[in-house]
């Protein structure tokens, strides 16, 4: 797939960049779901990573490689704190999901009013000079660079999460998801397991956010931390198939072209709001008729054909 990169023109590269961004974010979101933790505030981790990476690079003058690691660390710490608070005070189920929204919105309001990071006016990165720019030093480049970067981190996240799920921790997370009290009774350190899974998920989301911030070139709390991106990030994995490793990637290949396609259609027809209506209606159709998501259905279909 990645090898096809140079063959695609920049339109497809940009579209696939977005696809892999959502696939990557969906993988990190799905990781938390493996322990039964529904995150409705993933924008917080994405946004913290994006802001930290951009600010440490642009204002702090650090290498973007180091900045992106700092961003991931900050997101991971924020994630651990939320997981610890949720676990320690036994905030479960819907309440935990709403706790993640609460922290994300709290952070958004604070960033909206924090002048050091540009508040609502946004934080802007200086444009790069394409002739002298060296993408591997600045982590910024043209469409091809970002396309390859997102393909790489998606592949990396996929294999990392696959390894994690096969490890001791993976089984602990699944145990907690099935029945937390039973898992605890069997000796699973529930609190530590939850903190770990959210820390990894948030840290990875921070990396995705850092790169996404570089791709955008400008950061606004509302669009990179707000409720809308938190929701956008989780639609792909749910549509693709929660709990399956490949689901988030398949979901992103479905959802992103749908989103972009309905935007283009709405603009062409000059019909305001048409894009959101189409998007909502298609998602409703998928969730109503494919309860487990697209990927598990494909797997079952192929298995049925074979036998």
């Amino acid at each position: 797939m990645a090898a096809a990169g140079p063959l695609l023109d920049s339109f497809w590269q940009s579209l696939l960049t977005l696809v892999f961004f959502y696939a990557f974010m969906g993988l990190t979101w799905n990781l938390m779901m493996s322990a039964g933790l529904l995150s409705l505030g993933h924008g917080l981790f994405l946004g913290l990573g994006a802001y930290a990476t951009a600010v440490f690079t642009a204002t702090g003058g650090l290498s973007p490689w180091i900045s992106i690691l700092i961003g991931a660390a900050i997101s991971a710490v924020a994630g651990s704190a939320i997981a610890w608070i949720g676990g320690r005070f036994s905030v479960r189920g819907v309440q935990f999901a709403l706790l993640t929204i609460a922290f994300a919105e709290l952070a958004r309001v604070l960033f909206d009013n924090w002048d050091f990071v540009g508040s609502t006016g946004g934080f802007f990165l200086k444009a790069i000079n394409p002739d002298t720019n060296r993408p591997l030093l600045t982590l910024r480049g043209g469409t091809l660079f970002f396309y390859l970067a997102f393909v790489l981190i998606t592949a990396g996240a996929y294999f990392l999460i696959r390894a994690l799920m096969a490890s001791r921790w993976g089984y602990r997370w699944r145990g907690i998801n099935e029945d937390e009290d039973a898992a605890r009774a069997l000796g699973v350190p529930a609190l530590r397991s939850k903190v770990l899974v959210v820390a990894i998920s948030a840290g990875l989301a921070g990396v995705g956010g850092g790169l996404f911030g570089f791709l955008q070139g400008s950061l606004f709390p509302d669009s990179i931390m707000g409720l809308r991106i938190s929701i956008e990030v989780l639609i792909a994995p749910i549509i693709g198939g929660v709990g399956s490793l490949f689901g988030p990637i398949v979901g992103a290949f479905f959802v992103v072209p749908l989103m972009e396609g309905s935007n283009v259609l709405g603009q062409r027809m000059g019909f305001y709001g048409l894009n959101t209506m189409i998007y909502g209606a298609v998602i409703l159709g998928v969730i109503a008729f494919l309860p487990d998501g697209i990927w598990p259905r494909i797997v079952r279909f192929v298995a049925a054909r074979r036998s």
Binding site: F89, R92, L106, I235
Partner: protein, 289 residues
């Protein structure tokens, strides 16, 4: 100084009563069906457009239009529940979440298509008027909205307590299987409940149309406010929604005065986090069964 604080506090309480009506709708749906309506704010905005439309057509004061908005939203909630949501009652949380997000997207899209992204302010003589009681000045529109919201809340409470249908709703919330055993038609009760929940949102929307300028993207703000209130009060608790609404209205008003209007929601979120830590089920919530 005291007068300023008194005015801000009373203004916060008045808007808080309307917030309580919004939250009541959310909590009643959750209490009975264990479903979180993530499109609640969109329902409020539908109510706002209905309020605006009726006001511009008939020049009636918006507080009189709340029952009309309530009736229309009741029909919408009833139809959505019977048509779609009932099939999702036993589905996992994330599937229900996406279902309501798809509703929210379609409603916002429809609003944008019909009314555009600009805000539609209601301008009337009362906008500038206030009642003076001793040192306190009460905004006329807010007072009317709060009074009407209070009447609707009392009416709903009486309905739930004394009518047969209201008793069936409480029975279904209390013990689902028991309710089915004694012959309560749960699907119909669910539809009525969804209708009532969304009617609360719609009525509140019509009431605040003259206070907040109507605009499609307000929906998220109302959804979030309603969430904060029901979690602070306790998901599924009616008393919690009422007191939580007033509390959040008050905390927004005080934060706007003491810090800055842009940070008015910070107190609410801080309060929310505090409540989740000290009483995870909310101030009036009961532990999950």
């Amino acid at each position: 100084m005291t007068a300023l604080y008194l005015n801000v506090i009373s203004g916060g309480i008045l808007i808080g009563v309307v917030y309580a009506l919004i939250a009541l709708g959310l909590t009643i749906i959750f209490g009975v069906m264990r479903v979180v309506n993530f499109a609640h704010g969109e329902m409020v905005v539908i109510g706002m457009y209905i309020g605006y439309g009726l006001w511009s057509a008939f020049k009636l004061p918006p507080w009189m239009l709340a029952p009309v908005a309530a009736a229309l939203l009741f029909a919408l909630g009833y139809a959505l529940q019977l048509g779609i949501v009932n099939a999702f009652i036993d589905r996992p949380q994330h599937a229900q979440f996406v279902l309501f997000i798809s509703f929210a997207l379609m409603i916002t899209g429809l609003h944008l298509a019909l009314f555009g992204p600009d805000s539609w302010p209601i301008q009337m003589v009362e906008s500038m008027q206030s009642y003076t009681i001793g040192p306190v000045r009460l905004d006329v529109l807010r007072s009317q909205a709060a009074l009407m919201a209070l009447l609707l809340i009392i009416g709903l409470m009486l309905f739930l307590r004394f009518s047969t249908l209201g008793r069936s709703i409480r029975a279904a919330a209390d013990n689902l299987i028991g309710a089915q055993v004694i012959g309560i038609r749960v699907r119909k009760v669910y539809a009525v409940t969804a209708g009532i929940g969304m009617a609360c949102a719609g009525a509140a929307g019509a009431l605040i149309a003259p206070i907040f300028d109507t605009q499609p993207f307000l929906a998220t703000d109302f959804t979030l406010i309603a969430f904060i209130i029901v979690i602070v009060g306790g998901l599924g608790s009616l008393t919690g929604a009422l007191l939580g609404g007033v509390l959040i209205g008050l905390s927004e008003a005080l934060a706007a005065l003491m810090i800055s209007p842009a940070l008015k929601t910070t107190f609410s979120y801080a309060l929310l986090v505090l409540v989740l830590l000290l009483r995870p089920n909310g101030l009036f919530g009961e532990p999950e069964r």
